[in-house]
Point group: C2
Chain length 357, copies 2
Amino acid sequence: MTEMLPPGSVIGILGGGQLGRMLSVAAARLGYRTHVFEPAANPPAAHVAEKVVTAPYDDAEALRAFAGGVDVITYEFENVPTAALDLLESLRPIRPNRRALAVSQDRILEKDFLSGIGLTTAPYAAVDDDESLEAALAHIGTPAILKTTRLGYDGKGQARIMDRSDAPAALAEMRGAPAVLEGFVTFTREVSVIAARGLTGEVAAYDPGENVHVGGILSTTTVPATLTPGERTDAVLLAARILNALDYVGVMGVELFVTAGGLVVNEIAPRVHNSGHWTQNGCAVDQFEQHIRAVAGWPLGDGTRHSDVVMENLIGNDILKVPAIAREANAALHLYGKAEARAGRKMGHVNRIRTSG
Amino acid sequence: MTEMLPPGSVIGILGGGQLGRMLSVAAARLGYRTHVFEPAANPPAAHVAEKVVTAPYDDAEALRAFAGGVDVITYEFENVPTAALDLLESLRPIRPNRRALAVSQDRILEKDFLSGIGLTTAPYAAVDDDESLEAALAHIGTPAILKTTRLGYDGKGQARIMDRSDAPAALAEMRGAPAVLEGFVTFTREVSVIAARGLTGEVAAYDPGENVHVGGILSTTTVPATLTPGERTDAVLLAARILNALDYVGVMGVELFVTAGGLVVNEIAPRVHNSGHWTQNGCAVDQFEQHIRAVAGWPLGDGTRHSDVVMENLIGNDILKVPAIAREANAALHLYGKAEARAGRKMGHVNRIRTSG
């Protein structure tokens, strides 16, 4: 058995958005303090963390001071610059590890990795220019989707190619960045598995949630998902295979397409995941606490679901619905404390608990 | 309809213990920030509040600065000195109001108030000296319990009088403080109602919890309590009567004895209450959020219980059980981040969720 991080220890979190905020609260619930590193001023996590370091990721002095004040480092997003990670890793353990980050930062590395451990992904091919795009389209066909290999999320850095005439415009949207062409996958539904692996190698997974995206952004997650028992088992085993192959420590979100031919891995996120927010009101140990448990060397929670939940994101002006939602029975609101509601900005979410009564 | 406190507003909390800590987290979940006023250094709430003011309650300058930084003031304990409240009240609204505080700060005022609205309490009489104690014992009989009228909690400032020969020692334990002699109540069980009243006067109550005390300190709360339907209804109506009579805004804990002759009010606490911690894992809106909702002018959550829960306090060395509890299914830990485990000190609690499956 590994050592549990002593009570009162400090967990460093890279990134101060809503995920960092909810990680901070979970860490406090287990008796830990948190320091947050975030370039932007007044981030959501600042309201609940013991300390916030406001500095860019190329400020070596700030990174050193941050590392000096914490016992272990984790992160709320996968696009932390490599040089910052190199420096931090020389000072404190980073969990999940660098390999998980490297794989998930690059769509081609990610798909190579997933294929390499025997999992199915969408057909894909690297694209740098007109010529490689032409070759990729010949191989994959249309419709297809062109994505930058790095730094894309919530539908940004993506362009659909419905037929070959769309190709030049799609390539222009990549703005010269390395890209990957992915074939469309015909799926009946999208699900995700939120899984965790502890320091000792134990794995625990939550029941898969069924996701609905609107405009490339997650809108709702419903648990339980509509899956056959076989699909449910496959989804969880597949997630466990990914975690074990990466010697992973922490929570990971694994997005899957359910197809007639089986499960296809869409992408992985080496962190707590929006599609796991339902666990806050469906489980004794939610994904945020599960992540902190893993990072702090605790035994994992078992992931049992005590209630069915529908999670709905509150995006942009959805925040105006809060007074009405506040009056609903069995609706648990989670707001992120963001001052300004911009279009597409995640302002909060609501977990609607379905009781059997 | 009243105004809801705008998102991003600051709620001031007097007291930085575990109740203040959990209030801070709940406020954050609704998009608010918190500032905590606490004389002691490094209080539990400091880890999750945006700001902490460390100063004694007689530091007028610190109180003024604190009030200047917040939009509304609430508190986690009822023994805030009167002069501090006078100053704060001149600067910002205090919720719950001063009357609730005055009543609950003094056992005689409290019992006079409760009797005055037609509720049953233990028989009681004021005691200042040998003579008044003698008269009180003649009226109430033995066994009885002598308590200081103010500042008692968790069994402190109390002395049992099993027969008259115990009287001098009991009085000595009061150290000259005004006291009240209370008759013993023969009860089958102790329950408490956690109830809330909003700014508009709406009242909501959670299902009563059944409490077991050990050594004068709450050990467990079990929900649902073993009550007849009539007792359950009486308990909730009685709590509502108290809240309405005080024009109360916020959450109150009402401790009751269940007797053959009906419900007897033991005491009231004008704040979130240890016996309401189960709501964190049994309800969509827990007592901490309910209190913040009331204080911030939100509609109240309806208090529906989605799961049955047994809450167990982790006191002193109970903290050593944490690694074992961490392995239990459906056990939700809540630790307070206190550095040192002293005998009788509340270090955390665990909510064990009972699933029907």
